[in-house]
């Protein structure tokens, strides 16, 4: 049965179809995987009891029917706790299904638990979770990345074949790279945000973790498409993204390598070598590669920093102890109740981001910070648009260095914030990007790189990413002891 642990959705589906295994047994198998192994990495905040999962199961003739998955704990599952890994929502139960969970259930997927994350998705290491410290399955002294660290770690350790995460500035792609799995941030508006607890609403996007690109396409197909409940939802028709995966590169595929990212300060030599090797693989497969420069990328982290904090300050104003969550019961006045509930309910990182956000939005500072950040965003969008007139896809690293040690940035929070350096430009531009495993360091830590495309180019990205996986073995490596 252990061979099932790292099987793909596609392989599991074949076994179900051939009746080599039944849904019930498959569920048992993955519940046991968590029971036996999650104590080592703490990827899940909760794994639901079997009966409650099966109660919601309706077999469907879809590629994901009967296949278990894990959901990041900021995505609402009706009747289940949705804590955002925050004390303030510790016992909050979602009163409805997010659109993505609703669609997945309708497709027959089994949603078996809640993945750990940075509190309110604010962080790059999953260390700001109020409840658990998730470890990187490749090295327990290292972080899994973040903020969707629980989702990435569970998929990497073979505890689950797929998981959902959310990506505001890199929160799917960076942990995917740190844990050696596939992580896709779709085009802004392609996957509905209804039921995703908002962090930076103009940047947030729900996306997929898996070990194979084909599986990623399967889960994307189940979740993407227009939703009436999300006013930023794109009018994109539902489609089957696996149709794009035919094992061939697009004819005359042109790929641009963003050279200045590989030469950036602080780039780890092993990461550069691995990304260069990934470029060679695609070139050998027939892609036409050219080197390009994107000078404004250097300003994207600062722009992202300002915009995301500003939106977070607005979005998190609703957590005030009135309707749900933690309340200071001692407060005699309403105003004190707000102040104390939020002081006690939020962790330090969240409080800091709210304060920064209100500072950059406040009278006297908004022009200097917020409006300038929006100007830079416009410039970044323009630069991507021009470059996509010349190439079909872009390549750059996902992260400057492999997974860092737990606690490494405790004394230097700004360095932690800069983890978003290579990932946030795509959120600012609203374009899709996938992180793929492309190597291992001498210390046996995964390395990832990004394939980036223009709006709604998920089909081309997945097609190309699949060819990359056909020509490499990195996605077939697994951490020891699982």
């Amino acid at each position: 049965m252990d061979s099932l642990a790292f099987a793909t959705i596609k392989e599991l589906k074949e076994k179900l179809s051939n009746q080599e295994i039944y849904v019930d047994e498959l569920l048992d198998f993955f519940l046991k995987r968590f029971q036996d192994h999650d104590g080592k990495i703490d990827s899940a905040l909760e794994v639901f009891d079997k009966q409650s999962i099966l109660d919601q199961f309706r077999a469907q003739g879809t590629p994901i029917s009967g296949i278990p998955g894990l959901i990041k704990d900021n995505i609402c599952q009706d009747g289940r706790i949705t804590s955002c890994a925050s004390k303030i929502l510790e016992s909050y139960r979602a009163t409805y299904d997010s659109t993505v969970c609703k669609r997945l259930k309708r497709f027959g997927a089994l949603l078996i638990g809640r993945a750990n994350m940075d509190e309110f998705a604010m962080g790059s290491s999953t260390e700001t979770s109020a409840f658990a410290l998730t470890k990187n399955p490749w090295n327990f002294e290292r972080v899994p990345g973040g903020s969707s660290g629980g989702s990435a770690a569970a998929v990497a350790a073979g505890l689950i074949p797929w998981a959902l995460g959310s990506d505001t500035g890199g929160s799917i792609r960076q942990p995917a790279a740190f844990c050696g799995v596939v992580g896709l941030k779709p085009t802004y508006g392609l996957v509905p945000r209804y039921g995703l607890v908002a962090y930076g609403s103009s940047l947030d996007q729900v996306g997929v973790f898996s070990r194979s690109v084909y599986d990623c396409a399967t889960v994307l197909s189940a979740t993407a498409g227009y939703d009436l409940h999300d006013s930023s939802s794109l009018n994109a028709r539902k489609k089957d993204y696996t149709q794009h995966i035919d094992g061939n590169l697009k004819e005359d595929l042109r790929i641009g390598v963003i050279d200045n990212t590989l030469q950036a300060d602080g780039m780890d030599g092993e990461v550069v070598t691995a990304v260069e090797e990934a470029i060679n693989v695609l070139e050998k497969a027939g892609a036409k590669v050219k080197r390009v420069k994107m000078p404004t990328l250097e300003y994207s982290a600062a722009s992202y920093f300002v915009i995301s904090r500003a939106e977070a300050a607005s979005n998190l104003a609703c957590f005030d102890g009135v309707r749900y969550g933690v309340r200071d019961k001692e407060a005699k006045r309403l105003h004190d109740m707000y102040l104390n509930s939020r002081h006690d309910g939020f962790g330090d990182e969240v409080k800091t981001r709210i304060l920064v956000g209100n500072y950059v939005l406040s009278a006297g500072h908004a022009g200097q910070f917020y409006e300038n950040a929006k100007r830079v965003q416009r410039m970044i969008r323009r630069e991507f648009k021009i470059i996509f007139g010349d190439v079909d896809l872009l390549i750059m690293p996902t992260h400057p260095a492999p997974a860092f040690k737990i606690g490494a940035f405790d004394l230097d929070k700004l360095q932690m914030d800069l983890q978003d350096y290579f990932t946030c430009p795509m959120n600012l531009a609203g374009i899709p990007a996938i992180s793929l495993p492309c190597g291992m360091t001498k210390n046996n830590l995964p390395i990832g790189f990004q394939l980036i495309g223009p709006h709604l180019s998920e089909g081309l990205i997945l097609q190309t990413a699949h060819v990359f996986q056909q020509n490499t073995h990195w996605h077939t490596l697994h951490p020891k002891g699982f």
């Binding site: 009163t95 409006e371 100007r375």
Partner: protein, 94 residues
């Protein structure tokens, strides 16, 4: 380098509805100064761009009444009375 005063931090904390303990104020000032100085980086490059990237599009839909079960929502209230959320005193009477 952005300088942040104690008064500014207290004002922002007030706007943010977050209480800061005395020992939390100084570290917050230091942190804000550090990150805001970094964020200032947007200014040099933004100088050459006229319009910020703000596109306003209204998205409308029909206002259809959908039945919801208010009990599941009210059941999570820290304090309630029948169909109301109960909060501490808002305006004190003399």
């Amino acid at each position: 380098m952005t300088k942040v005063t104690r008064e500014e931090v207290l004002k922002i904390a007030e706007i943010s509805h977050i209480f800061l303990r005395e020992d939390e104020i100084e570290p917050m000032i230091k942190h804000l100064e550090g990150v805001l100085s970094y964020a200032e980086g947007v200014q040099e490059v933004a100088a050459g761009i006229e319009e910020p990237s703000i596109k306003r599009v209204n998205v409308f839909r029909e206002d259809v009444v959908v039945k919801t079960d208010s009990e599941t929502i009210l059941a999570q209230a820290p304090e309630r009375e029948e169909n109301y959320f109960v909060v501490p005193v808002i305006i004190e009477t003399k």
